[in-house]
């Protein structure tokens, strides 16, 4: 199963290595990892997306909790939450299909943020399915390059 895990950590060097070691030691491949400051500057939040056996992942989450420097671990599986990822996609484009690309981007509420003679760069924000859907539409044009920030997630409501 796919898990989106949010980890609040002390903003110190070495913390990322500790977390990465835990996943690596059990042969988990991390799908995505995003790190940034929180509302409290000395605390960072890491959002980790990982797939694997639920029982082993539960074990990994307990191990994460046990690490010093980790303040809190949330697995979003049961809670209502939002996920967002940002992707930059460089697509082959000539004069004759540029308007078609603009249309597609519009439908997805994506933005064209750079245009050159033979390509455009499209910026899209959304959850995984939305980005996948756009990718599928763009593939026939020829995707030259893509990069993504990795998923960040937040629980809905009060907390």
């Amino acid at each position: 199963m796919r898990h989106t895990i949010s980890v609040l950590v002390e903003n110190k060097f070495g913390v990322l290595a500790r977390i990465a070691t835990l996943f690596a030691a059990r042969g988990f491949n991390i799908d995505s990892l995003a790190v940034g400051e929180t509302e409290t500057p000395d605390i960072s939040r890491m959002t980790i997306v990982v797939r694997g056996d639920d029982r082993i992942l539960e074990q990994v989450e307990k191990q994460l909790n046990k690490l010093l420097d980790i303040i809190k671990v949330i697995d979003f599986k049961e809670t209502r939450h939002l996920e967002r990822d940002l992707a930059l996609i460089k697509v082959k484009s000539a004069k004759n299909n540029r308007s078609e690309l603009i249309q597609i981007a519009d439908i997805f509420r994506a933005k064209i943020i750079d245009v050159s003679a033979d390509s455009v760069i499209i910026e899209i924000t959304g959850n995984e399915e939305k980005i996948q859907a756009l990718m599928n539409m763009l593939r026939p044009f020829g995707i030259k390059e893509m990069c993504r920030t990795g998923i960040i997630a937040m629980g809905r409501g009060v907390k």
């Binding site: 950590v9 002390e10 060097f13 070495g14 290595a17 500790r18 070691t21 030691a25 074990q59 307990k62 191990q63 909790n65 046990k66 690490l67 010093l68 420097d69 980790i70 303040i71």
Partner: protein, 575 residues
């Protein structure tokens, strides 16, 4: 008060009531050793950093206090790794200090630089690289707190040489608080009630206790619980000494070389109450055939231990002593007459035994030691057959009196750990029960023992083999003895020739001469009838003594649950 990093190091150790440090100096440690020079701390100069780490471990295991060791950057630090991993696997509180190259050189492949925190991350509970002297005091205090609390474990602090030299205000902090570290000590009352109910309903319960009982000093509570409801108790290797050996409720050790009745009891239990034990594969045998009928209560301070290997019905997270105290109140008295009778029959049918003939057998030596010391000595073991015979035949009476590398199984642990234990317990007899292979892994510490007048006794059960590996080769690899004879060139000649086997019987090394070369006393015993008199003599000598017992070379450890077999598929003799 303004102090240097090196001075802060000393101040913090004194505040933590450290009396002894084990280690070896080096270039980047010069500022710190200059302060050790006229500090009240006792410094034990070892001959290898691995020895220092095991000594700190032995000191800690035998007292419950934090053991402290120190090593220089690069090779000094890498030499500590096995000792840290050993302590980590067995949850032993140790604080290790390493010197590091100056902060401006870190990452430059400087002379004697190693990424110590990177290397030791998986073998410590936590570790630190201190990049600013202003963090040193807080870090050292945190390290001791982390090492000793929750599930204990080793913590390493890497101190660059310029940080040891730099100065800052020494605050004399009186308390440490870590927001990301809050161990749970009290069990959930609801869970405790559920556990009590399961116990009260059970007909065939077993208490399965591990190192956590020793760590939490809960031996008394285990005894009280087991006696109140007549629940038999089996101990892991790490819990030896937590339950009195004479008791009818004591099933002794379970697992791969556990007793027949302990393993049978586990397999037939309707309830297993695990306390501070972690269902290690050496204890459970094949998991899918483990204790099929049993419900499981698991009391442990570490939530990650729970439901890791076996699914638990009632987990109770917290300190064993606290939880047991509560639990006892809710548990009703019971005789469990039928259950105890069944167990007694198992015990009678296949007791722990060995061939008691004229030959000098290793089990006899251990039994003799047990008898002569009345089970009251601190026994430390190496790894292999010697370790299992020590566990089976030394009837240890007290907690923290049986020290053995259980989780990692580190050959070379015993002797240095014995030195650490003797330093912490100068009035007790401390004996390292050793194999001829293992003892050679840290034999250099004879110098440390002799020079510091640390009167430990080494009992080498010399079978001329890496015996435990030989036993497996005998039983599961058609007696093809590959690289297990300690006195032959493993890659030369015909492995099956008679002359070859004879060559195995020379003295390499001559342990008596080795002992004498270091200034210790060496005694060789080759006859069964000399065992007790020689032991008595050795115990009376006020010096480190190396005793070599030339035992039956191909003696095997039984009972045995072969790897991958279920606990009740237990062999009590060769097929």
């Amino acid at each position: 008060m303004i102090k240097s990093g090196a001075e802060i190091f000393i101040e913090c150790l004194l505040m933590e009531k450290v009396d002894t440090i084990f280690g070896i100096p080096g270039g980047v440690l010069l500022p710190i050793f200059d302060k050790i020079y006229d500090s009240p701390l006792r410094f034990i100069l070892t001959r290898h950093e691995q020895g220092a780490a095991h000594m700190a471990d032995g000191y800690a295991r035998s007292t419950g206090k934090v053991g402290v060791c120190i090593a220089t950057s690069g090779p000094g630090a890498t030499n500590l790794v096995t000792g840290l991993a050993t302590a980590h696997m067995d949850s032993i509180p140790v604080v290790a200090f390493t010197g590091q190259v100056a902060t401006n050189l870190i990452g430059n492949d400087a002379f004697q630089e190693a990424d110590t925190t990177g290397i030791t991350r998986p073998v410590t509970k936590h570790n630190y690289l201190v990049k600013d002297v202003r963090e040193l005091e807080q870090t050292i205090r945190e390290a001791f707190y982390i090492a000793a609390t929750g599930r204990p474990g080793p913590v390493l602090i890497d101190i660059p040489v310029d940080v040891a030299r730099a100065k800052c205000e020494f605050k004399k902090l009186d308390k440490v608080e870590i927001r990301s570290y809050k161990p749970t000590y009290n069990g959930h009352p609801g869970q405790i009630k559920k556990a009590a109910q399961l116990i009260n309903e059970s007909n065939q319960p077993v208490l399965y206790i591990g190192g956590g009982v020793i760590a939490s000093d809960a031996s008394k509570e285990v005894i009280e619980l087991s006696e109140k409801a007549n629940i038999p108790v089996t101990t892991t290797l790490l819990a030896m000494g937590a339950y009195p050996p004479g008791s009818k409720l004591n099933l002794e050790m379970l697992g791969m070389h556990g007793t027949y009745h302990a393993n049978k009891a586990m397999q037939n239990a309707d309830l297993i109450v695990a306390v501070g034990s972690r269902f290690d594969d050496r204890c459970t045998g094949r998991l899918d055939a483990f204790a099929k009928k049993a419900k499981i209560i698991h009391i442990d301070i570490d939530p990650t231990s729970i439901s890791k290997n076996v699914v638990v019905n009632v987990p109770v997270v917290g300190d064993a002593k606290n939880i047991l105290k509560e639990l006892i109140k809710h548990v009703k008295e019971n005789t469990h007459k039928d259950w105890l009778k069944t167990i007694e029959e198992w015990k009678k049918s296949k007791p722990l035994t060995y061939k008691n003939d004229d030959k000098l057998r290793p089990q006899y030596v251990v039994e003799a030691i047990s008898e002569l010391t009345k089970g009251e000595a601190i026994v430390v073991t190496e790894v292999g057959q010697n370790q299992m015979w020590a566990a089976q035949f030394y009837k240890v009476k007290n907690p923290r009196h049986f020290l053995s590398s259980g989780g990692l199984g580190t050959m070379g642990y015993g002797f240095p750990a014995a030195i650490g234990a003797k330093i912490a317990n100068p009035d007790k007899t401390v004996i390292d029960i050793a194999g001829d292979g293992s003892i050679q892994m840290n034999i250099q510490e004879l110098a440390t023992a002799v020079l510091n007048k640390i009167n430990v006794k080494i009992v080498i059960l010399n079978n001329y083999y890496l015996g435990m590996v030989r036993q497996w080769q005998e039983m599961f690899y058609g007696k093809r003895y590959s690289a297990v004879c300690l006195n032959e060139n493993a890659s030369s000649g015909d492995k099956h020739s008679k002359s070859k086997q004879k060559k195995c019987m020379d003295y390499v090394p001559d342990f008596v001469k080795v002992a004498e070369a270091y200034g210790a006393v060496g005694i060789r015993v080759t006859n069964k009838k000399d065992v007790k008199t020689s032991l008595k003599k050795a115990f009376e000598i006020d010096k480190p003594v190396v005793m070599e017992f030339v035992v039956e070379p191909e003696e095997n450890v039984f009972p045995m649950v072969p790897a991958g077999a279920a606990l009740d598929e237990i062999l009590t003799h060769l097929a």
